[in-house]
Structures are given as structure tokens and as C-alpha cells.
């Protein structure tokens, strides 16, 4: 019944609009307007509407800036993130200026030069000076944008020095993240996708001693404050994306290769809660590459600790192959065959 009413309402709407349109046209014709060409009155009305639109559009944007602006991501919680935010704001100011100037010109000209019956347009086919200006000015501005952008890009993407960083692996699969800490030696042991069986969820190769002290953690990713974290990212099935919105970091995880990102967290979770006055605030990793049905629910809690809290937490996590249990290997001894195809970490 409701549906029927909706359809009726829509049909009535169309009929009303079409009949109104006819009335308008007839009225215009009676006043001596030309059937095809817009009358001067129509031109004037549409011209005025452009002016109204200009004001309404800018007010709408201002309203959004005031209302939605505060709900965008808070200050960056990593060192590189702060630089990124600065550059973002710098570029945003430039494009906002361009946007506002061009829109004022566009909509204002549309209003000012609406067609009058006894008017004639000015023949103005080209002007080399003007064209030179609006080729070279954007080029100069873009040169600055490119220079600043590439400088930061190079800085962010230069691989971290693993000897001075905390090495952590992020392993993705449908639909969760798993972390592996490199342990005392700060070196991740080798892994092979063919060894992912039973409890060996990451396919660690027990023949590699570097992996024995590795710590596999699900559910929560803890990070130490003010230390460079070097992430090695792998995937088990499809392409996912490891997206740290608050740390302004992101990298896809791609089956068959290891991808890298690194950043230095600068605000602990507790500190961020205070700054935002929100007890329930948490950092997250989100999956940001379409990866299947439950893509929208693939996330991991991130906790940034002070160095002491971090050390205490990490000490509690079990090692992959504790020294006491080395003889009782979790996985079957590695066969000769997969070894050939081992991927170096």
C-alpha cells in the first residue's frame, strides 16, 4: 500500500512538473517570446539563479567546514604524519583559493552577461598575453607543489634502518590482521606460505633460528612511543591494505611480495584520549582495499604505549619456539622442497 502511494506520488510529481512547464511556455509565448530561444526574462532568471547558487554553494561549503571539519581525523599521531598534514593544508589553501576565484568568476559572469535582446557579444577570440599568464602561473605553482611533495615522499618512502627500528610484521588474510614481533634479535624469521598449517598461522620456518623468538599476536597491535617502527607486510590470500588513519600511513599487502612502511608514533593512546577528551578513543588499522564480503569489518586495535608499558606487554607475549620447547617443533620439519622457494624476509 505504501509502495503504491509512493509510485502514485512520483507519477503525480512528473505530471505536475510537465503541466507547469507547459503553462510557463504558453505564458512566455503569449508575451511574444520566441519558442526556441530563451526569452530575455528566462535568461535573466537563470542568470540570477547562478548568483543565488554561488552564495548558497559557498554557504553550504562554509557550513560543512564548521560542522564536518571538526569531525575529520585529529592531529597526526606520527612524526611523518605531522609533516604530511602540514603539506596537505598548504596544498589545500592553494586549491581553495583557485576554487573560490574561478567559481566567483564563472557564476558571476553567467549572471552579469545573461542574454539581452538588444545586446551583442564582444568578439574576443584569443589573447596571447592572457593565455601566457594562465599557462605559466599554474606551471610555477605546480613546480612548488611537486617539489615539496616529492621531497616528503622520498623522505617517507626511504626504507627504515632495521637495526635502529622495532621490526614488526603485519600479516593479512580474509578478514583479520596478525602481527609478528621480531623478538630479542629484532630479526624476523623466514616464512613460507606452504608451511601455513594448523597452529603455524604465519607459515614460519622452524629451521630458521631467527624466527624462534618471534612473537605472534592477534587482536591488538602494541607500538612503543617515539621509536621508528619498521613494518613488513605480507598477505595470505587477496590484496588488502594496511591503513593507519591516525598515523597517516598506508600500504597494500600483496600476496607474493613483502611491502614496507615505517613511522614513528608520537602520541600514546592514553595521551590521545586526554587530548580529544574522549575516554573511548582508540587507534585502529583498517583494511582499505576491497577484499571480500566482510571487508567492512576487517580491522585491528592499535595501542601506542610508553616504552616501559610496551616492554612489559611484549615480555608477556609467548615466543614462537621457546628455548625450552625447541625439540618439540610445532610444525613438521621443513621438507626440502619448499625450502627452494623460500622468500627472503
Amino acid at each position: 500500500m505504501v509502495q503504491l502511494l509512493i509510485y502514485l506520488a512520483i507519477a503525480l510529481l512528473i505530471i505536475t512538473v510537465s503541466q507547469l512547464a507547459r503553462v510557463f511556455e504558453l505564458a512566455a509565448e503569449l508575451k511574444g517570446g520566441h519558442k526556441n530561444k530563451p526569452t530575455e526574462r528566462e535568461n535573466r532568471n537563470n542568470g540570477r539563479l547562478w548568483l543565488v547558487y554561488l552564495v548558497a554553494f559557498f554557504s553550504f561549503i562554509l557550513w560543512q567546514l564548521l560542522n564536518y571539519g571538526p569531525r575529520t581525523l585529529p592531529e597526526a599521531a606520527s612524526e611523518s604524519g605531522v609533516k604530511l598534514d602540514w603539506l596537505f593544508n598548504f596544498n589545500m589553501i592553494i586549491i581553495f583559493i583557485v576554487f573560490i576565484i574561478t567559481h566567483i568568476l564563472l557564476f558571476f559572469f553567467a549572471f552579469k552577461y545573461y542574454g539581452r535582446d538588444n545586446n551583442r557579444a564582444t568578439f574576443f577570440p584569443h589573447n596571447n598575453k592572457l593565455e601566457l599568464i594562465w599557462t605559466s602561473v599554474p606551471a610555477a605553482v605546480l613546480a612548488v607543489i611537486i617539489f615539496l611533495g616529492l621531497k616528503l615522499w622520498t623522505e617517507i618512502t626511504t626504507p627504515a634502518d632495521d637495526t635502529k627500528s622495532e621490526v614488526i610484521e603485519i600479516y593479512t588474510k580474509q578478514f583479520d590482521f596478525t602481527a609478528r614481533y621480531a623478538g630479542k634479535d629484532n630479526v624476523l624469521g623466514k616464512a613460507n606460505y606452504k608451511l601455513v598449517i594448523g597452529a603455524n598461522v604465519l607459515g614460519l620456518d622452524s629451521a630458521d633460528v631467527n624466527g624462534h623468538d618471534d612473537k605472534i599476536v592477534k587482536g591488538e597491535l602494541h607500538l612503543p612511543l617515539n621509536k621508528e617502527i619498521s613494518f613488513k607486510i605480507r598477505s595470505q590470500d587477496v590484496i588488502h591494505s594496511v591503513y593507519f588513519p591516525y598515523h597517516r600511513a598506508q600500504m597494500n599487502s600483496v600476496p607474493g611480495m613483502t611491502t614496507l612502511i615505517h613511522f614513528k608514533p608520537t602520541i600514546t593512546s592514553a595521551d590521545m584520549r586526554k587530548r580529544l577528551k574522549n575516554d573511548k578513543f582508540d587507534y585502529y588499522i583498517l583494511c582499505n582495499k576491497i577484499c571480500g564480503t566482510s571487508h567492512y569489518a576487517m580491522k585491528m586495535l592499535v595501542v601506542v604505549d610508553s616504552p616501559e608499558e610496551y616492554a612489559a606487554w611484549l615480555a608477556k607475549q609467548p615466543e614462537f619456539l621457546p628455548a625450552t620447547a625447541k625439540t618439540a617443533a610445532i610444525t613438521e620439519p621443513t621438507a626440502a622442497e619448499p625450502k627452494k622457494e623460500e622468500k627472503g624476509m
Binding site: S18, L20, A21, R22, K35, K37, P38, E42, N43, N46, Y53, A56, Q64, Y68, R71, L73, L84, N91, F99, T102, H103, L106, F107, F109, Y113, G115, R116, R120, A121, T122, F123, F124, P125, N127, L130, L142, I145, I146, L150, W153, I156, K173, Y193, D237, V238, I239, S241, P245, R248, A249, Q250, G256, L286, K289, G292, T293, S294, Y296, E341, K343
Partner: protein, 601 residues
Amino acid sequence: MDIHAVNDHHDAHADHEHHHEESFVSKYVFSMDHKTISRQFLITAVVMAVVGMMMSVMFRLQLAWPHEGFALTNFILGDKWAPKGVLDPNMYMALVTLHGTIMVFMVLTGGLSGTFSNLLIPYQIGARDMASGFLNMLSYWFFFASSLVMLLSCFIETGPASGGWTVYPPLSAVAEFMPGSGLGMTMWLVSMSLFIVSSLLGGLNYIITVINFRTKGMSMTRLPLTIWAFFITAILGVLSFPVLFSAALLLIFDRSFGTSFYLSDIIVNGAPLEQTGGSPILYQHLFWFLGHPEVYIILLPALGLASEIIAVNSRKPIFGYRAMIGSMLAIGFLSFIVWGHHMFITGMNPFLGSVFVFTTLLIAIPSAVKAFNYITTLWKGNIQFTPAMLFAIGLVSTFISGGVTGIILADSALDIPIHDTYFVVAHFHIVMGLSAILGMIGGVYHWFPKLFLRKMNKTMGYIHFWITFVCAYGVFFPMHFLGLAGVPRRYYTNSEVPMFDNLMDINVLITCFAIVGALGQLIFLFNFFYSIFRGEKAEQNPYNSNTLEWTTPMAHTHGNWPGALPVVHRWPYDYSKPGEEADFIPQTVPLRPGEVDGGGH
């Protein structure tokens, strides 16, 4: 070989054929006439656009009111995909995927180029028809088959393809990864392969026709900008679509024949997949080698249409005609060397990323030139606000406001935190989706007299435009803020992540604008179909235009001009030329002694 000899020969041929009575099938179904094929493309595209729009309304309802039931959703999708009207997550993914595919390929590539290249290339260059009417007919029927297969894939048990319109493997390559990666994905690939064939047949035809079939006096620098746009678009398509075909073909091999071009180190259902040694990144390179030129394949025709509409209705020459051609050539060339900006965070070498930052940001220069030239064309004009003109000005606005955010996204470092978020969705919908659809609708209003010999209702056109333009920004502008709040695209609901809890009202606002905008399109649909049959008869040159299509009689005659082909004496933009009585001088009017062509006076 003398081209005009060929054309003259064609003349005789055309006269000869005048006496044939064509059957219904050869006239309306398997027609080789460019005007009929143009209308076939347009009607198909309108149908596909309605389908694509309905899909977006359904997933917008889900995003604004997650887990709530809607009778509309249930009515369209049935109990399996929308039990109690609540959209199924798999169907959500499928709708997002098909909405993208249909809009990008069926509506804005096939529909836009197919309709207007076919209609305007022969008309505006003064040709009897396309170089090959037969290939042109095939082009349409491949397009039709492609659209049909895409629609049919909605009716299979496992649902249509649902890996996003980019269908990245391994998600799209292994059926176990999601239901849509089964038969639905196969049908998607079949549909796209047919589409590529259609696009190549059409594109080759457009290129050959523009090069060889221009009438006497129609030099390349006397072509209307529409034709330049279609010409460059066709070249882009011919060079890039084969690469998409190779990407699709390798994906078909991986899916069906056990190869591993894109597959490596994958576990399916707890067991290692035998196929290994490939790279998913390879697919992305191949896909985006088409994917980026594709953006301009969509955009350039719309800009071309807008150039003509703005010049005619401002009653002024387009400002900087040669700069406009130069910009389009520059955009076309650059569009081939920027594809990597879609892949900054895929693990591609960062140095390669730097190169793509540089080339991508260069595109901003010719784009800026175009935008400023449009604005200057309005300056001191005598603007006639036909509905087409409103849409063309709308296009300039969205081209600018969507273009400037591209500067942020092209900057690899800044792309990191907003890649794949709603900021991107806002950017490409405004710059590509809105601009192209506004240009296309403007084109339909403007050339309706040539398409159907009748006129659309003007007042309904005004109402349609203002509703559309208000809702266009109402839908897409707030998405920038969602993106800056970190909301990833293609999430079935934002309710699973606590950090998005305070953004619900933004989604509600967007959906409300989307619904009103969609209802607004009903006005257009009514006006469109009503006017085809009952609209007022149009006269020959309703806008006092200079271009050749308005010199043809108001009837769809085979060969376009009943007598000899028109001869061109001047460029197409002599509007309001000083010293002339009328404010337009058709291209067929000879230059007066001492008169300089091409904007000199």
C-alpha cells in the same frame, strides 16, 4: 588519392540509393546509418544509466540507514539478496561494482562517444556517413551484447561480479574468495571483452572518418572543437583498450586455464594454491594503462560538447581555439604516462611513484588553460540560457572543483592517508562522473533536434538542471569530509568501526540528496521520451549556429545532404563578428575580400 573524388563518388551512390524503400529491420535494427546508430547508442545508454542510478540509490540507502529494511530494495532485489529489504553484503559489493562498470563503460564511454561521435562526426565535417557503416553497425551490436551480458549477470545464483569495478586479482581470480568471483566474474570479463571490440570498431571508424572524409575546405584547424575532442578520444581508446583486453585475457587464463600471471603465494581454504610465481601488481599496471586514459576518454567528449554549447550560447567565439586543441592534445598525450598514480601505495617502487607524480601534475596545466578559456568565453557574452548552456556551465564548475582535489591525490605523499577513502570517491565522481554526465545531458538537450527532429521542453529542462546541479554537489561535496575522517570506500556499513560513529548524519544527508537527485532525473526521462514522439517539431537552425549539422534538412535523409556536400570557407566560431549584421556566420559562407579566417578581424 583525392579524397573529394571518393566523396563525389559517394554522392552519386547516395542519389542512386534514394529510391530504395528500406525494410524496418535494415532501417531501425541493423542500420548502417550513423544517425540511427547514434540514437541506438543513446537509448541503450539511457536505459543503462537508469539501471546504474537505481543501484546507487539502493546502496546509498544502506549506507545512510544500515541494517534497515527498504521496500524498494526488496522489490528490486527480492528476498534472496535483500531479505526484509536489508541489502545483503555480497549484493552491496556487487551493486558498487556494477554501478561503477556500467557508468564508466556503458554510459560514459559507449553511450557518450557512441552517441555523439556517431551523430556529429559526419554531420560536422560534412560527410555522407561514417567511413564504414558496417563496422559502425557492428560496433553498436557488440555494445548491445556487452550491456546485455552485464545485465544478465545480475540474474545468476552467485550474483554478479563484486570485486570493485577495477576487479583486482587475486580477489577476482579465485572463485572461493567471494561469491561474485565465480560465474558473475566470468560474465563481467565476457561483457568487457565484447565492449572492447565495440569500442575499437567505433574508434577506428571515427579516426578514419575525421582524417579522410572532411568536406572541401574543412581543414583540421576549421574543425569544431567537438570533432577534435572525439578524434583525440578515439585515438586514446584505440591505443589503450587493447591493453585492457590483454589484462582481461590474462585474467581469463588465470581463472579458467590454470595459468598464474597474477597469482603467487596464495592459500585457498587452508591449502596452498598450485598456481604461483605471478604478480597481482602486473594486473594493476595493465588495467590502469587503460584506466587512466579512460578517464579522458570519458571527459574529453563532454568537454568537446561543452565547448560548442558554450560558444554558441555565449554568442562568442570559443576563447583560444588553438590553445584548446593544444590542451586536448597535451592531455591526451600525458594521460598515457600517468597511470601509476593509482598505484602509489601498492608496493610499486617509490622512485617510479615520483615519476608519476611529476607527469600527473603536469596535466593540471592544460586543464587549467581549458577552464580559464571557458570562463573567458562567457566574459562579455550575450548568454542564451538554454538548458544545454546551463549544463555546460555546470560542467565547467565540476571540472574545476573536482580537478583541484586531483592535485592533492596526484601528490604521492598526500595520497597515502586518503588513498581509497571517500576523498577519492568525491574527487572522481565530481571531476569525471558529474562533468561527463552534465556534458552528455547538455549534449542531448542541444542536439535533440538533430537526433529526433523535435525539441525537448525548455522549462522542464530548467527544472531538471537546477535540481540536478544542487543535488550533484549535495551528494559529492560532503564525501570529501568523510574521506578526511578516514572512511574507506566500499564499506558495506560504517557501523563496525567505532571511529565512524559520529559520521552517520553526513551519510544521511548525502543519501537524501541522492534520492532527490534521482527523482529529478525522472523529469528528464519523461521529457526525453515524451519529446521523442510528441515534442514540438524543431526548425533547421534553432540556435543560429555556424556548424554544418544545422545546414542539413530537418529529416533523416540517407547521405545527410540532399544535393552536393557543403563547402567550408571559415572556422566554426564566427559569432558576433564586428562589422557583420547577423551575430553568426555559418561555415558555408565565403570569406569576404580581405576578411581573415580563424578569429582575425
